[in-house]
């Protein structure tokens, strides 16, 4: 069981998984978002090989209005 902070909310993952698997589980389209884990950017090219760790802090962002 992994405890992950996703966009500020504490959630649990039943098993260790890659970013690709986690995004699929959470229902995100990887082409519309970008990710930082523990405030470090993770490129789309690295999703498959990046494994989430217990207590990771994951930020998933998308385009939004801005000035």
């Amino acid at each position: 069981m992994l405890k992950i902070t996703l966009n500020g909310d504490l959630i649990e993952l039943k098993a260790a998984c890659s970013v690709t698997q986690a995004l699929h589980h959470w229902g995100y389209n990887p082409h519309d978002i970008a990710i930082a884990i523990n405030q470090i950017f993770v490129s789309r090219n690295d999703y498959a090989t990046t494994m989430l760790q217990n207590n990771d802090i994951v930020d998933i962002v998308a385009p939004m209005q801005g000035g």
Partner: protein, 263 residues
């Protein structure tokens, strides 16, 4: 047409996309302003919003070039990470680099800004820094490779116009060939005109249009004002004088140099 780094834009106005009463009004304001570049941002994607981003669909439909910002960042590290995420999502190496140092004025943190600028340029970004009008800070940013500087006119959203015209003029004089854009603080079209007449290459604004009573009409007003200001700059204004100078030639007007007699 004007050049900003490696891009050519038609309009010297760059419009923000936030704070409009609705996405539809934002779209109409962008069309009314005739801008070809808009600023955008990144925010956490809520679980229940995933796969549904009407805003982004609208921007893509309008076909504008986008200038992502790092709004909300308070350290160089946050800004660098945000810029990297923006590059991947928006598929552009341009970044409107904002590193805020004070919550009340939203004044840029010059020290963190320079650190972030140096790192992002080393990673291939075209950094457009939101900065103060401080000459030495601007010199440092240029030394690190900035092709564009974006000093504030006044605090973001304040609508106060150009609070320090002396320093803004000094920047224009000290960087005659650099692209200079006034970013933030503009409240009215006359503020924008003042900046453009001063020789600034462009204006970025958001609140002045989005929060106007009639945003679409205000977008048109800014579009026209900035075009007028640029014409005025290119035409060359007359120097201000202390005393009057008649506009109508006096030579050979009736009674010219005629002695009056009281016989």
């Amino acid at each position: 047409m004007w050049n900003v780094a490696d891009k050519t834009l038609k309009n010297r106005l760059i419009l923000g996309t936030a704070l409009y009463p609705s996405i539809e009004i934002m779209k109409q304001a962008i069309i009314a302003a005739e801008v070809d570049m808009v600023t955008v941002s990144l925010r956490r994607q809520k679980m229940n919003d995933r796969g549904n981003n009407y805003f982004w669909d609208c921007i893509k439909e309008l076909g504008c070039q986008v200038l992502p910002n790092t709004a909300g960042c308070r350290t160089a590290k946050e800004a660098i990470t945000t810029a990297l995420m923006a590059r991947e999502i928006f598929n552009t190496n341009w970044i409107k680099l904002e590193v805020i140092g004070d919550d009340h004025t939203l004044q840029p943190d010059p020290f963190e800004l320079v650190i972030a600028t140096k790192e992002l340029i080393s990673q291939g970004f075209e950094v457009l820094p939101y900065c103060t009008e401080d000459l030495i800070l601007c010199q440092r940013l240029v030394e690190h490779g900035c092709n564009v500087l974006m000093p504030w006119g006044a605090p973001i959203g304040s609508g106060q116009g150009l609070c320090n015209p002396f320093a803004l003029k000094t920047l224009r004089q000290r960087f005659p060939d650099l692209t200079l854009i006034i970013d933030a603080g503009i409240g009215t079209p006359s503020h924008a005109i003042a900046g453009i007449e001063m020789g600034y290459d462009g204006i970025i604004l958001n609140s002045a249009v989005a929060l106007a009573d009639a945003p679409i009409t205000m977008a048109k007003a800014f579009n026209l004002a900035i075009k007028a200001g640029r014409y005025a700059y290119e035409a060359g204004a007359i120097p201000a004088r202390e005393l009057a100078k008649p506009s109508t030639p006096l030579l050979d007007t009736p009674f010219w140099h005629q002695e009056t007699t009281n016989d």
